[in-house]
Subunit: 320 residues, 2 copies
Protein backbone atom coordinates (compact mmCIF):
# COMPACT_ATOMS: atom_id res chain seq x y z
CA UNK A 1 0.00 0.00 0.00
CA UNK A 2 2.39 2.65 -1.25
CA UNK A 3 2.17 5.46 -3.79
CA UNK A 4 5.25 7.24 -5.00
CA UNK A 5 3.09 10.34 -5.48
CA UNK A 6 -0.60 11.20 -5.05
CA UNK A 7 -2.82 9.70 -7.75
CA UNK A 8 -5.44 12.45 -7.32
CA UNK A 9 -5.15 15.91 -5.83
CA UNK A 10 -8.58 15.88 -4.16
CA UNK A 11 -10.95 12.98 -3.59
CA UNK A 12 -14.51 13.13 -2.24
CA UNK A 13 -15.93 10.13 -0.37
CA UNK A 14 -19.73 10.25 -0.26
CA UNK A 15 -20.87 8.16 2.71
CA UNK A 16 -18.35 7.02 5.28
CA UNK A 17 -19.30 3.59 6.62
CA UNK A 18 -17.10 0.48 6.66
CA UNK A 19 -15.98 0.82 3.02
CA UNK A 20 -15.89 4.63 2.72
CA UNK A 21 -14.07 4.88 6.03
CA UNK A 22 -11.57 2.19 5.05
CA UNK A 23 -10.99 3.91 1.69
CA UNK A 24 -10.32 7.26 3.39
CA UNK A 25 -7.88 5.65 5.84
CA UNK A 26 -6.13 3.64 3.12
CA UNK A 27 -5.84 6.65 0.78
CA UNK A 28 -4.33 8.70 3.60
CA UNK A 29 -1.87 5.96 4.58
CA UNK A 30 -0.82 5.37 0.98
CA UNK A 31 -0.54 9.08 0.18
CA UNK A 32 -2.83 8.44 -2.78
CA UNK A 33 -4.56 11.85 -2.50
CA UNK A 34 -3.49 15.26 -1.23
CA UNK A 35 -6.90 16.19 0.14
CA UNK A 36 -9.73 13.93 1.33
CA UNK A 37 -13.22 15.42 1.59
CA UNK A 38 -15.94 13.32 3.22
CA UNK A 39 -19.69 13.80 2.94
CA UNK A 40 -21.66 12.47 5.90
CA UNK A 41 -24.69 13.41 7.96
CA UNK A 42 -25.80 13.45 11.60
CA UNK A 43 -24.16 11.16 14.14
CA UNK A 44 -21.93 9.52 11.51
CA UNK A 45 -20.60 12.96 10.52
CA UNK A 46 -19.64 13.64 14.13
CA UNK A 47 -17.81 10.27 14.34
CA UNK A 48 -15.96 10.95 11.06
CA UNK A 49 -14.84 14.31 12.46
CA UNK A 50 -13.78 12.80 15.78
CA UNK A 51 -11.80 10.09 13.96
CA UNK A 52 -10.14 12.69 11.67
CA UNK A 53 -10.87 10.55 8.62
CA UNK A 54 -10.92 13.48 6.19
CA UNK A 55 -9.38 16.91 5.71
CA UNK A 56 -12.90 18.29 5.46
CA UNK A 57 -16.24 16.79 6.44
CA UNK A 58 -19.49 18.25 5.15
CA UNK A 59 -23.13 17.31 4.82
CA UNK A 60 -23.41 19.34 1.62
CA UNK A 61 -22.94 17.11 -1.44
CA UNK A 62 -22.21 20.04 -3.75
CA UNK A 63 -19.58 21.37 -1.39
CA UNK A 64 -18.05 17.88 -1.10
CA UNK A 65 -17.57 17.25 -4.83
CA UNK A 66 -16.88 20.69 -6.32
CA UNK A 67 -13.05 20.44 -6.15
CA UNK A 68 -12.81 16.64 -6.36
CA UNK A 69 -10.80 14.92 -9.09
CA UNK A 70 -12.28 11.64 -7.93
CA UNK A 71 -15.77 11.24 -6.46
CA UNK A 72 -16.46 7.89 -4.73
CA UNK A 73 -20.04 7.08 -3.81
CA UNK A 74 -19.97 4.73 -0.80
CA UNK A 75 -23.59 4.76 0.38
CA UNK A 76 -26.04 1.82 0.22
CA UNK A 77 -26.61 1.19 -3.49
CA UNK A 78 -30.16 2.56 -3.75
CA UNK A 79 -29.01 5.88 -2.27
CA UNK A 80 -26.32 6.34 -4.93
CA UNK A 81 -28.66 7.47 -7.73
CA UNK A 82 -30.35 10.26 -5.72
CA UNK A 83 -27.02 11.39 -4.21
CA UNK A 84 -25.35 11.44 -7.63
CA UNK A 85 -28.21 13.47 -9.07
CA UNK A 86 -27.76 16.14 -6.37
CA UNK A 87 -23.97 16.15 -6.64
CA UNK A 88 -23.79 16.09 -10.43
CA UNK A 89 -24.57 19.82 -10.76
CA UNK A 90 -21.27 20.49 -8.97
CA UNK A 91 -18.90 17.90 -10.45
CA UNK A 92 -15.54 19.38 -11.45
CA UNK A 93 -14.99 19.10 -15.22
CA UNK A 94 -12.64 16.21 -15.97
CA UNK A 95 -13.43 14.44 -12.67
CA UNK A 96 -13.80 10.68 -12.42
CA UNK A 97 -17.04 9.45 -10.85
CA UNK A 98 -17.00 6.01 -9.24
CA UNK A 99 -18.61 4.03 -6.43
CA UNK A 100 -18.02 0.95 -4.28
CA UNK A 101 -21.47 -0.65 -4.58
CA UNK A 102 -22.01 -4.42 -4.62
CA UNK A 103 -24.30 -4.16 -7.66
CA UNK A 104 -23.01 -2.64 -10.88
CA UNK A 105 -25.80 -2.72 -13.49
CA UNK A 106 -28.28 -0.54 -11.61
CA UNK A 107 -25.61 1.69 -10.09
CA UNK A 108 -23.74 2.26 -13.38
CA UNK A 109 -27.01 3.29 -15.00
CA UNK A 110 -27.81 5.67 -12.11
CA UNK A 111 -24.35 7.28 -12.20
CA UNK A 112 -24.47 7.79 -15.97
CA UNK A 113 -28.03 9.15 -15.89
CA UNK A 114 -27.03 12.30 -14.02
CA UNK A 115 -23.43 12.75 -15.14
CA UNK A 116 -22.60 15.64 -17.53
CA UNK A 117 -20.44 14.89 -20.57
CA UNK A 118 -17.49 16.63 -18.86
CA UNK A 119 -16.87 13.79 -16.36
CA UNK A 120 -15.86 10.12 -16.65
CA UNK A 121 -18.07 7.50 -15.00
CA UNK A 122 -16.14 4.35 -14.03
CA UNK A 123 -18.18 2.20 -11.58
CA UNK A 124 -16.24 -0.02 -9.18
CA UNK A 125 -16.56 -2.63 -6.45
CA UNK A 126 -13.92 -3.70 -3.93
CA UNK A 127 -14.61 -7.33 -2.88
CA UNK A 128 -13.79 -6.78 0.76
CA UNK A 129 -15.60 -6.17 4.00
CA UNK A 130 -16.43 -7.41 7.46
CA UNK A 131 -19.76 -7.91 9.20
CA UNK A 132 -19.37 -4.57 10.98
CA UNK A 133 -20.55 -1.18 9.77
CA UNK A 134 -20.18 2.54 10.42
CA UNK A 135 -17.19 4.92 10.40
CA UNK A 136 -15.50 3.17 13.34
CA UNK A 137 -15.52 -0.22 11.59
CA UNK A 138 -13.14 0.79 8.77
CA UNK A 139 -9.41 0.11 8.65
CA UNK A 140 -6.67 0.91 6.14
CA UNK A 141 -5.72 -2.71 5.40
CA UNK A 142 -9.20 -3.82 4.32
CA UNK A 143 -8.35 -3.88 0.62
CA UNK A 144 -4.90 -5.49 0.90
CA UNK A 145 -4.65 -8.35 -1.58
CA UNK A 146 -8.41 -8.23 -2.28
CA UNK A 147 -9.83 -7.73 -5.77
CA UNK A 148 -11.48 -4.50 -6.89
CA UNK A 149 -13.60 -4.90 -9.99
CA UNK A 150 -14.05 -1.92 -12.32
CA UNK A 151 -16.86 -1.94 -14.89
CA UNK A 152 -15.86 0.79 -17.37
CA UNK A 153 -18.01 1.79 -20.33
CA UNK A 154 -17.11 0.67 -23.82
CA UNK A 155 -15.51 4.04 -24.65
CA UNK A 156 -12.14 3.80 -26.42
CA UNK A 157 -11.36 7.54 -26.22
CA UNK A 158 -7.93 8.32 -24.71
CA UNK A 159 -9.51 10.64 -22.12
CA UNK A 160 -11.83 7.93 -20.84
CA UNK A 161 -9.18 5.21 -20.95
CA UNK A 162 -6.84 7.53 -19.06
CA UNK A 163 -9.49 7.96 -16.35
CA UNK A 164 -9.90 4.17 -16.07
CA UNK A 165 -6.14 3.62 -15.82
CA UNK A 166 -5.81 6.30 -13.16
CA UNK A 167 -8.59 4.81 -11.04
CA UNK A 168 -6.95 1.38 -11.36
CA UNK A 169 -3.66 2.89 -10.14
CA UNK A 170 -5.51 4.45 -7.21
CA UNK A 171 -6.91 1.08 -6.09
CA UNK A 172 -3.53 -0.55 -6.58
CA UNK A 173 -1.98 2.10 -4.34
CA UNK A 174 -4.56 1.15 -1.70
CA UNK A 175 -3.35 -2.45 -1.77
CA UNK A 176 -6.00 -3.96 -4.05
CA UNK A 177 -5.66 -6.04 -7.19
CA UNK A 178 -7.76 -4.67 -10.05
CA UNK A 179 -9.83 -6.49 -12.67
CA UNK A 180 -12.06 -5.15 -15.46
CA UNK A 181 -15.45 -6.72 -16.06
CA UNK A 182 -18.73 -6.19 -17.85
CA UNK A 183 -21.47 -4.86 -15.50
CA UNK A 184 -23.89 -7.70 -16.16
CA UNK A 185 -21.25 -10.35 -15.66
CA UNK A 186 -20.15 -8.68 -12.42
CA UNK A 187 -23.69 -8.87 -11.11
CA UNK A 188 -23.95 -12.58 -11.91
CA UNK A 189 -20.54 -13.43 -10.43
CA UNK A 190 -21.30 -11.50 -7.24
CA UNK A 191 -24.73 -13.11 -7.00
CA UNK A 192 -22.79 -16.39 -6.60
CA UNK A 193 -19.85 -15.32 -4.45
CA UNK A 194 -21.59 -12.80 -2.22
CA UNK A 195 -25.32 -12.16 -2.62
CA UNK A 196 -26.59 -15.77 -2.44
CA UNK A 197 -24.28 -16.58 0.52
CA UNK A 198 -25.72 -13.60 2.40
CA UNK A 199 -29.29 -14.57 1.48
CA UNK A 200 -28.76 -18.14 2.70
CA UNK A 201 -27.08 -16.98 5.89
CA UNK A 202 -29.84 -14.50 6.72
CA UNK A 203 -32.40 -17.20 5.99
CA UNK A 204 -30.89 -19.97 8.12
CA UNK A 205 -30.41 -17.64 11.06
CA UNK A 206 -34.02 -16.53 10.69
CA UNK A 207 -35.22 -20.15 10.53
CA UNK A 208 -33.30 -21.09 13.69
CA UNK A 209 -34.80 -18.10 15.46
CA UNK A 210 -38.35 -19.18 14.58
CA UNK A 211 -38.41 -22.81 15.74
CA UNK A 212 -40.76 -23.88 18.51
CA UNK A 213 -39.03 -27.10 19.55
CA UNK A 214 -35.50 -25.69 19.83
CA UNK A 215 -34.94 -22.65 22.03
CA UNK A 216 -32.85 -19.59 21.14
CA UNK A 217 -30.63 -20.39 24.11
CA UNK A 218 -29.93 -23.85 22.70
CA UNK A 219 -29.17 -22.43 19.26
CA UNK A 220 -26.63 -20.05 20.81
CA UNK A 221 -25.03 -22.56 23.19
CA UNK A 222 -24.45 -25.23 20.56
CA UNK A 223 -23.66 -22.91 17.65
CA UNK A 224 -20.02 -24.02 17.49
CA UNK A 225 -21.23 -27.03 15.48
CA UNK A 226 -21.33 -24.85 12.34
CA UNK A 227 -24.23 -22.44 12.77
CA UNK A 228 -22.11 -19.60 14.18
CA UNK A 229 -20.23 -19.31 10.87
CA UNK A 230 -23.48 -18.21 9.22
CA UNK A 231 -24.29 -15.64 11.87
CA UNK A 232 -21.26 -13.58 10.90
CA UNK A 233 -22.50 -12.56 7.49
CA UNK A 234 -26.08 -12.48 8.77
CA UNK A 235 -24.91 -9.66 11.06
CA UNK A 236 -24.00 -7.45 8.09
CA UNK A 237 -25.61 -4.06 7.53
CA UNK A 238 -29.38 -4.55 6.93
CA UNK A 239 -29.94 -1.49 4.72
CA UNK A 240 -26.95 -2.20 2.51
CA UNK A 241 -28.15 -5.76 1.95
CA UNK A 242 -31.80 -4.84 1.44
CA UNK A 243 -30.60 -2.59 -1.38
CA UNK A 244 -28.39 -5.27 -2.92
CA UNK A 245 -31.30 -7.72 -3.22
CA UNK A 246 -33.66 -5.08 -4.58
CA UNK A 247 -31.20 -3.92 -7.26
CA UNK A 248 -29.74 -7.29 -8.30
CA UNK A 249 -33.03 -9.16 -8.24
CA UNK A 250 -32.72 -11.02 -11.55
CA UNK A 251 -29.24 -12.45 -11.04
CA UNK A 252 -29.98 -13.35 -7.40
CA UNK A 253 -33.19 -15.17 -8.32
CA UNK A 254 -31.41 -17.00 -11.17
CA UNK A 255 -28.65 -18.27 -8.88
CA UNK A 256 -31.10 -18.99 -6.07
CA UNK A 257 -33.05 -21.16 -8.52
CA UNK A 258 -29.96 -23.25 -9.20
CA UNK A 259 -29.20 -23.52 -5.48
CA UNK A 260 -32.75 -24.75 -4.81
CA UNK A 261 -32.61 -27.36 -7.59
CA UNK A 262 -29.40 -28.72 -6.10
CA UNK A 263 -30.79 -28.64 -2.56
CA UNK A 264 -33.84 -30.65 -3.59
CA UNK A 265 -31.56 -33.23 -5.19
CA UNK A 266 -29.46 -33.41 -2.04
CA UNK A 267 -32.59 -33.73 0.08
CA UNK A 268 -33.68 -36.67 -2.06
CA UNK A 269 -30.28 -38.35 -1.61
CA UNK A 270 -30.75 -38.11 2.17
CA UNK A 271 -34.33 -39.39 2.01
CA UNK A 272 -33.26 -42.33 -0.18
CA UNK A 273 -30.17 -43.05 1.93
CA UNK A 274 -27.82 -42.62 -1.05
CA UNK A 275 -24.51 -42.46 0.82
CA UNK A 276 -22.37 -42.61 -2.32
CA UNK A 277 -23.97 -39.48 -3.80
CA UNK A 278 -23.56 -37.61 -0.50
CA UNK A 279 -19.92 -38.62 -0.14
CA UNK A 280 -19.16 -37.67 -3.75
CA UNK A 281 -20.50 -34.12 -3.26
CA UNK A 282 -18.81 -33.68 0.13
CA UNK A 283 -15.48 -34.76 -1.37
CA UNK A 284 -15.76 -32.43 -4.39
CA UNK A 285 -16.43 -29.35 -2.26
CA UNK A 286 -13.15 -29.74 -0.35
CA UNK A 287 -11.18 -28.86 -3.47
CA UNK A 288 -12.86 -25.46 -3.81
CA UNK A 289 -11.61 -24.33 -0.41
CA UNK A 290 -8.08 -25.43 -1.25
CA UNK A 291 -8.32 -23.31 -4.43
CA UNK A 292 -9.45 -20.25 -2.48
CA UNK A 293 -6.60 -20.61 0.00
CA UNK A 294 -4.13 -21.02 -2.87
CA UNK A 295 -5.61 -17.90 -4.55
CA UNK A 296 -4.65 -15.92 -1.42
CA UNK A 297 -8.28 -15.10 -0.57
CA UNK A 298 -8.53 -17.10 2.64
CA UNK A 299 -6.48 -18.12 5.64
CA UNK A 300 -5.25 -21.73 5.75
CA UNK A 301 -5.54 -21.82 9.55
CA UNK A 302 -8.17 -24.23 10.89
CA UNK A 303 -11.42 -22.59 12.04
CA UNK A 304 -10.39 -19.29 10.34
CA UNK A 305 -7.67 -18.99 12.99
CA UNK A 306 -10.35 -18.25 15.59
CA UNK A 307 -8.96 -18.14 19.07
CA UNK A 308 -10.01 -21.28 20.85
CA UNK A 309 -11.54 -21.34 24.27
CA UNK A 310 -12.74 -17.71 24.22
CA UNK A 311 -14.86 -17.34 27.33
CA UNK A 312 -16.90 -14.23 28.17
CA UNK A 313 -15.67 -14.43 31.73
CA UNK A 314 -13.06 -17.05 32.56
CA UNK A 315 -14.02 -18.65 35.87
CA UNK A 316 -11.15 -19.33 38.24
CA UNK A 317 -10.31 -23.02 38.32
CA UNK A 318 -8.18 -24.91 40.79
CA UNK A 319 -4.80 -25.88 39.43
CA UNK A 320 -2.84 -28.93 40.43
CA UNK B 1 -8.18 -28.10 31.90
CA UNK B 2 -6.92 -29.51 35.18
CA UNK B 3 -7.63 -32.64 37.19
CA UNK B 4 -6.48 -33.00 40.76
CA UNK B 5 -6.22 -36.75 40.15
CA UNK B 6 -6.96 -39.10 37.25
CA UNK B 7 -10.69 -39.60 36.63
CA UNK B 8 -10.11 -43.04 35.06
CA UNK B 9 -7.18 -45.39 35.34
CA UNK B 10 -7.28 -46.55 31.71
CA UNK B 11 -9.19 -45.09 28.77
CA UNK B 12 -9.51 -46.54 25.26
CA UNK B 13 -10.04 -44.21 22.30
CA UNK B 14 -11.45 -46.08 19.31
CA UNK B 15 -10.61 -44.09 16.18
CA UNK B 16 -8.12 -41.26 16.39
CA UNK B 17 -9.11 -38.46 14.01
CA UNK B 18 -9.67 -34.80 14.87
CA UNK B 19 -11.89 -35.53 17.90
CA UNK B 20 -10.27 -38.75 19.14
CA UNK B 21 -6.82 -37.21 18.75
CA UNK B 22 -7.85 -34.04 20.57
CA UNK B 23 -9.41 -36.09 23.36
CA UNK B 24 -6.21 -38.13 23.80
CA UNK B 25 -4.09 -34.97 23.89
CA UNK B 26 -6.46 -33.18 26.30
CA UNK B 27 -6.73 -36.19 28.63
CA UNK B 28 -2.94 -36.45 28.74
CA UNK B 29 -2.47 -32.72 29.39
CA UNK B 30 -5.14 -32.69 32.10
CA UNK B 31 -3.89 -35.86 33.75
CA UNK B 32 -7.42 -37.22 33.46
CA UNK B 33 -6.27 -40.81 32.85
CA UNK B 34 -3.23 -42.83 33.85
CA UNK B 35 -3.10 -44.87 30.66
CA UNK B 36 -4.41 -44.00 27.19
CA UNK B 37 -4.89 -46.83 24.70
CA UNK B 38 -5.73 -45.95 21.10
CA UNK B 39 -7.25 -48.20 18.45
CA UNK B 40 -6.39 -47.22 14.88
CA UNK B 41 -5.55 -48.88 11.58
CA UNK B 42 -3.15 -48.49 8.66
CA UNK B 43 -1.60 -45.13 7.92
CA UNK B 44 -3.52 -43.39 10.72
CA UNK B 45 -2.11 -45.92 13.22
CA UNK B 46 1.42 -45.05 12.10
CA UNK B 47 0.72 -41.30 12.54
CA UNK B 48 -0.78 -41.87 16.01
CA UNK B 49 2.37 -43.78 16.98
CA UNK B 50 4.67 -41.11 15.52
CA UNK B 51 2.78 -38.39 17.39
CA UNK B 52 2.91 -40.41 20.67
CA UNK B 53 -0.79 -39.76 21.27
CA UNK B 54 -1.30 -42.90 23.38
CA UNK B 55 0.57 -45.16 25.75
CA UNK B 56 -0.39 -48.06 23.53
CA UNK B 57 -1.68 -48.14 19.95
CA UNK B 58 -3.30 -51.23 18.52
CA UNK B 59 -5.50 -52.27 15.62
CA UNK B 60 -7.14 -54.95 17.74
CA UNK B 61 -10.39 -53.70 19.28
CA UNK B 62 -10.50 -56.42 21.93
CA UNK B 63 -6.95 -55.64 22.98
CA UNK B 64 -7.78 -51.91 23.10
CA UNK B 65 -10.80 -52.15 25.41
CA UNK B 66 -10.03 -55.09 27.69
CA UNK B 67 -8.47 -53.02 30.52
CA UNK B 68 -10.34 -49.78 29.85
CA UNK B 69 -12.49 -48.13 32.52
CA UNK B 70 -13.75 -45.76 29.83
CA UNK B 71 -14.21 -46.69 26.17
CA UNK B 72 -14.73 -43.74 23.78
CA UNK B 73 -15.86 -44.53 20.24
CA UNK B 74 -14.62 -41.72 17.98
CA UNK B 75 -15.14 -43.14 14.49
CA UNK B 76 -17.66 -41.89 11.89
CA UNK B 77 -21.09 -42.63 13.38
CA UNK B 78 -22.08 -45.52 11.12
CA UNK B 79 -18.87 -47.34 12.06
CA UNK B 80 -19.64 -47.16 15.78
CA UNK B 81 -22.23 -49.98 15.83
CA UNK B 82 -20.01 -52.59 14.11
CA UNK B 83 -16.95 -51.54 16.15
CA UNK B 84 -18.91 -51.72 19.41
CA UNK B 85 -20.22 -55.14 18.51
CA UNK B 86 -16.67 -56.44 18.03
CA UNK B 87 -15.33 -54.72 21.14
CA UNK B 88 -18.25 -55.62 23.43
CA UNK B 89 -17.02 -59.21 23.95
CA UNK B 90 -13.97 -57.74 25.71
CA UNK B 91 -15.42 -54.83 27.73
CA UNK B 92 -14.11 -54.74 31.31
CA UNK B 93 -16.95 -55.25 33.81
CA UNK B 94 -17.99 -51.90 35.30
CA UNK B 95 -16.59 -49.93 32.37
CA UNK B 96 -18.34 -46.86 30.95
CA UNK B 97 -19.00 -46.97 27.20
CA UNK B 98 -19.37 -43.64 25.42
CA UNK B 99 -18.79 -41.99 22.04
CA UNK B 100 -18.34 -38.54 20.47
CA UNK B 101 -20.73 -38.91 17.53
CA UNK B 102 -22.79 -36.01 16.15
CA UNK B 103 -25.97 -38.14 16.15
CA UNK B 104 -27.21 -39.65 19.38
CA UNK B 105 -30.41 -41.58 18.65
CA UNK B 106 -28.93 -44.10 16.22
CA UNK B 107 -25.60 -44.31 18.04
CA UNK B 108 -27.13 -44.77 21.50
CA UNK B 109 -29.22 -47.60 20.14
CA UNK B 110 -26.17 -49.23 18.52
CA UNK B 111 -24.06 -48.96 21.68
CA UNK B 112 -26.80 -50.43 23.84
CA UNK B 113 -27.53 -53.26 21.39
CA UNK B 114 -24.16 -54.93 21.95
CA UNK B 115 -23.36 -53.89 25.52
CA UNK B 116 -23.50 -56.56 28.26
CA UNK B 117 -25.35 -55.71 31.48
CA UNK B 118 -21.99 -55.33 33.26
CA UNK B 119 -21.15 -51.97 31.60
CA UNK B 120 -22.72 -48.49 31.60
CA UNK B 121 -23.59 -46.91 28.24
CA UNK B 122 -23.55 -43.09 28.36
CA UNK B 123 -23.50 -41.60 24.82
CA UNK B 124 -21.90 -38.19 24.40
CA UNK B 125 -21.15 -35.44 21.92
CA UNK B 126 -18.62 -32.60 22.26
CA UNK B 127 -19.83 -29.61 20.18
CA UNK B 128 -16.39 -28.70 18.91
CA UNK B 129 -14.32 -29.21 15.80
CA UNK B 130 -12.55 -27.66 12.88
CA UNK B 131 -12.78 -28.37 9.16
CA UNK B 132 -9.64 -30.49 9.33
CA UNK B 133 -9.44 -34.21 9.97
CA UNK B 134 -7.02 -36.98 10.88
CA UNK B 135 -4.67 -37.57 13.85
CA UNK B 136 -2.53 -34.53 13.02
CA UNK B 137 -5.51 -32.14 13.13
CA UNK B 138 -6.26 -32.62 16.83
CA UNK B 139 -5.18 -30.30 19.66
CA UNK B 140 -5.63 -30.35 23.42
CA UNK B 141 -7.56 -27.05 23.63
CA UNK B 142 -10.34 -28.07 21.23
CA UNK B 143 -12.90 -28.60 24.00
CA UNK B 144 -12.08 -25.52 26.10
CA UNK B 145 -15.26 -23.66 26.94
CA UNK B 146 -17.28 -25.75 24.45
CA UNK B 147 -20.32 -27.77 25.45
CA UNK B 148 -20.32 -31.55 25.64
CA UNK B 149 -23.80 -33.06 25.63
CA UNK B 150 -24.36 -36.40 27.38
CA UNK B 151 -27.52 -38.38 26.64
CA UNK B 152 -27.75 -40.86 29.55
CA UNK B 153 -30.45 -43.50 29.80
CA UNK B 154 -33.34 -43.07 32.21
CA UNK B 155 -31.71 -45.37 34.81
CA UNK B 156 -31.81 -44.03 38.39
CA UNK B 157 -29.57 -46.76 39.87
CA UNK B 158 -26.63 -45.38 41.88
CA UNK B 159 -24.15 -47.38 39.78
CA UNK B 160 -25.39 -45.86 36.53
CA UNK B 161 -25.69 -42.34 37.95
CA UNK B 162 -22.17 -42.69 39.32
CA UNK B 163 -20.93 -43.58 35.84
CA UNK B 164 -22.70 -40.54 34.37
CA UNK B 165 -21.23 -38.21 37.00
CA UNK B 166 -17.75 -39.59 36.46
CA UNK B 167 -17.94 -39.10 32.68
CA UNK B 168 -19.15 -35.53 33.25
CA UNK B 169 -16.15 -34.91 35.51
CA UNK B 170 -13.87 -36.31 32.82
CA UNK B 171 -15.18 -33.87 30.22
CA UNK B 172 -14.98 -31.02 32.70
CA UNK B 173 -11.34 -31.90 33.35
CA UNK B 174 -10.77 -31.63 29.58
CA UNK B 175 -12.07 -28.03 29.62
CA UNK B 176 -15.64 -28.64 28.43
CA UNK B 177 -18.94 -27.59 29.97
CA UNK B 178 -21.36 -30.50 30.28
CA UNK B 179 -25.11 -30.64 29.68
CA UNK B 180 -27.54 -33.56 29.86
CA UNK B 181 -30.14 -34.02 27.15
CA UNK B 182 -32.61 -36.50 25.74
CA UNK B 183 -31.27 -38.30 22.62
CA UNK B 184 -34.12 -37.22 20.35
CA UNK B 185 -33.91 -33.61 21.44
CA UNK B 186 -30.14 -33.63 20.90
CA UNK B 187 -30.66 -34.82 17.35
CA UNK B 188 -33.15 -32.04 16.61
CA UNK B 189 -31.03 -29.30 18.22
CA UNK B 190 -27.94 -30.44 16.33
CA UNK B 191 -29.91 -30.66 13.09
CA UNK B 192 -30.37 -26.88 13.51
CA UNK B 193 -26.99 -25.81 14.86
CA UNK B 194 -24.76 -28.15 12.90
CA UNK B 195 -26.29 -30.56 10.40
CA UNK B 196 -28.38 -28.09 8.36
CA UNK B 197 -25.52 -25.54 8.26
CA UNK B 198 -23.22 -28.23 6.86
CA UNK B 199 -25.85 -29.36 4.35
CA UNK B 200 -26.39 -25.79 3.13
CA UNK B 201 -22.67 -25.11 2.93
CA UNK B 202 -21.96 -28.29 0.97
CA UNK B 203 -24.86 -27.44 -1.33
CA UNK B 204 -23.91 -23.84 -2.12
CA UNK B 205 -20.30 -24.78 -2.77
CA UNK B 206 -21.54 -27.53 -5.09
CA UNK B 207 -23.88 -25.11 -6.89
CA UNK B 208 -21.09 -22.58 -7.43
CA UNK B 209 -18.87 -25.33 -8.82
CA UNK B 210 -21.51 -26.34 -11.37
CA UNK B 211 -22.38 -23.03 -13.06
CA UNK B 212 -21.69 -22.53 -16.73
CA UNK B 213 -21.69 -18.72 -16.83
CA UNK B 214 -19.37 -18.16 -13.87
CA UNK B 215 -15.99 -19.88 -13.87
CA UNK B 216 -14.37 -21.68 -10.92
CA UNK B 217 -11.54 -19.16 -11.09
CA UNK B 218 -14.00 -16.30 -10.66
CA UNK B 219 -15.69 -18.04 -7.73
CA UNK B 220 -12.34 -18.40 -6.00
CA UNK B 221 -11.01 -14.92 -6.76
CA UNK B 222 -14.09 -13.10 -5.55
CA UNK B 223 -14.95 -15.43 -2.66
CA UNK B 224 -14.12 -12.80 -0.01
CA UNK B 225 -17.62 -11.38 -0.61
CA UNK B 226 -19.06 -14.08 1.65
CA UNK B 227 -18.76 -17.38 -0.20
CA UNK B 228 -15.45 -18.36 1.40
CA UNK B 229 -17.13 -18.59 4.83
CA UNK B 230 -19.21 -21.50 3.52
CA UNK B 231 -16.24 -23.33 2.06
CA UNK B 232 -14.78 -23.86 5.53
CA UNK B 233 -17.45 -26.22 6.77
CA UNK B 234 -17.88 -27.66 3.26
CA UNK B 235 -14.27 -28.85 3.63
CA UNK B 236 -15.16 -31.06 6.60
CA UNK B 237 -14.63 -34.81 6.55
CA UNK B 238 -16.85 -36.37 3.81
CA UNK B 239 -17.34 -39.77 5.44
CA UNK B 240 -18.19 -38.34 8.84
CA UNK B 241 -20.82 -36.07 7.28
CA UNK B 242 -22.24 -38.72 4.97
CA UNK B 243 -22.89 -40.79 8.08
CA UNK B 244 -24.48 -37.89 9.98
CA UNK B 245 -27.05 -37.29 7.23
CA UNK B 246 -27.81 -40.99 6.85
CA UNK B 247 -28.35 -41.51 10.60
CA UNK B 248 -30.17 -38.26 11.46
CA UNK B 249 -32.36 -38.26 8.37
CA UNK B 250 -35.71 -37.42 10.00
CA UNK B 251 -34.57 -34.43 12.04
CA UNK B 252 -32.47 -33.06 9.16
CA UNK B 253 -35.36 -33.31 6.70
CA UNK B 254 -37.73 -31.68 9.21
CA UNK B 255 -35.44 -28.69 9.74
CA UNK B 256 -34.59 -28.51 6.04
CA UNK B 257 -38.33 -28.26 5.34
CA UNK B 258 -38.58 -25.21 7.59
CA UNK B 259 -35.52 -23.65 5.99
CA UNK B 260 -37.03 -24.14 2.52
CA UNK B 261 -40.37 -22.61 3.51
CA UNK B 262 -38.57 -19.55 4.81
CA UNK B 263 -36.32 -19.35 1.74
CA UNK B 264 -39.32 -19.39 -0.58
CA UNK B 265 -40.89 -16.55 1.40
CA UNK B 266 -37.66 -14.57 1.21
CA UNK B 267 -37.43 -15.24 -2.50
CA UNK B 268 -40.95 -13.85 -2.94
CA UNK B 269 -40.01 -10.70 -0.99
CA UNK B 270 -37.14 -10.14 -3.42
CA UNK B 271 -39.32 -10.81 -6.47
CA UNK B 272 -42.00 -8.41 -5.19
CA UNK B 273 -39.44 -5.78 -4.15
CA UNK B 274 -40.60 -5.81 -0.52
CA UNK B 275 -37.72 -3.87 1.05
CA UNK B 276 -39.37 -3.55 4.46
CA UNK B 277 -39.69 -7.32 4.87
CA UNK B 278 -36.06 -7.83 3.83
CA UNK B 279 -34.77 -5.17 6.19
CA UNK B 280 -36.84 -6.55 9.09
CA UNK B 281 -35.30 -10.03 8.71
CA UNK B 282 -31.77 -8.69 8.22
CA UNK B 283 -32.09 -6.61 11.38
CA UNK B 284 -33.45 -9.47 13.49
CA UNK B 285 -30.60 -11.82 12.58
CA UNK B 286 -27.96 -9.43 13.95
CA UNK B 287 -29.20 -10.05 17.51
CA UNK B 288 -28.50 -13.79 17.28
CA UNK B 289 -24.81 -13.24 16.64
CA UNK B 290 -24.56 -10.87 19.59
CA UNK B 291 -26.13 -13.60 21.76
CA UNK B 292 -23.61 -16.19 20.57
CA UNK B 293 -20.69 -13.88 21.31
CA UNK B 294 -22.12 -13.13 24.76
CA UNK B 295 -22.53 -16.88 25.35
CA UNK B 296 -18.77 -17.26 24.85
CA UNK B 297 -19.16 -19.46 21.77
CA UNK B 298 -17.73 -17.04 19.20
CA UNK B 299 -15.04 -14.41 18.83
CA UNK B 300 -16.19 -10.78 18.78
CA UNK B 301 -13.39 -9.83 16.38
CA UNK B 302 -14.56 -8.71 12.91
CA UNK B 303 -14.21 -11.31 10.17
CA UNK B 304 -13.55 -14.04 12.81
CA UNK B 305 -10.23 -12.27 13.51
CA UNK B 306 -8.94 -13.51 10.15
CA UNK B 307 -5.60 -12.04 9.28
CA UNK B 308 -6.14 -9.44 6.62
CA UNK B 309 -4.11 -9.20 3.48
CA UNK B 310 -2.93 -12.83 3.55
CA UNK B 311 -1.19 -13.36 0.24
CA UNK B 312 0.11 -16.73 -0.92
CA UNK B 313 3.33 -15.08 -1.98
CA UNK B 314 3.81 -11.42 -1.12
CA UNK B 315 5.27 -9.67 -4.16
CA UNK B 316 7.95 -7.08 -3.47
CA UNK B 317 6.60 -3.57 -3.85
CA UNK B 318 8.49 -0.30 -4.07
CA UNK B 319 8.30 1.74 -0.89
CA UNK B 320 8.41 5.52 -0.62
Amino acid sequence: MVAAEPIYDTIAVIGCGLIGGSLARAARLAGAANTIVIAEQGAAKARVEALHLGDRVTDDLCEAVKDADLVVFATPVRAIGPAAELASRCYKPGATITDVGSVKGAVGQALRASAPATVHVVPGHPIAGTEQSGPDAGFAELFDNRWTILTPANDPSPDYQGAVDRLARFWTALGARVEMMDEQHHDLVLAVTSHLPHLIAYNIVGTADDLEKVTQTEVMKYSAGGFRDFTRIAASDPVMWRDVFLTNKDAVLEILGRFLEDLHTLSRHIRMGDGDALQALFTRTRAIRRGIIEAGQETAEPDFGRHHGHAPVSPGEPSG
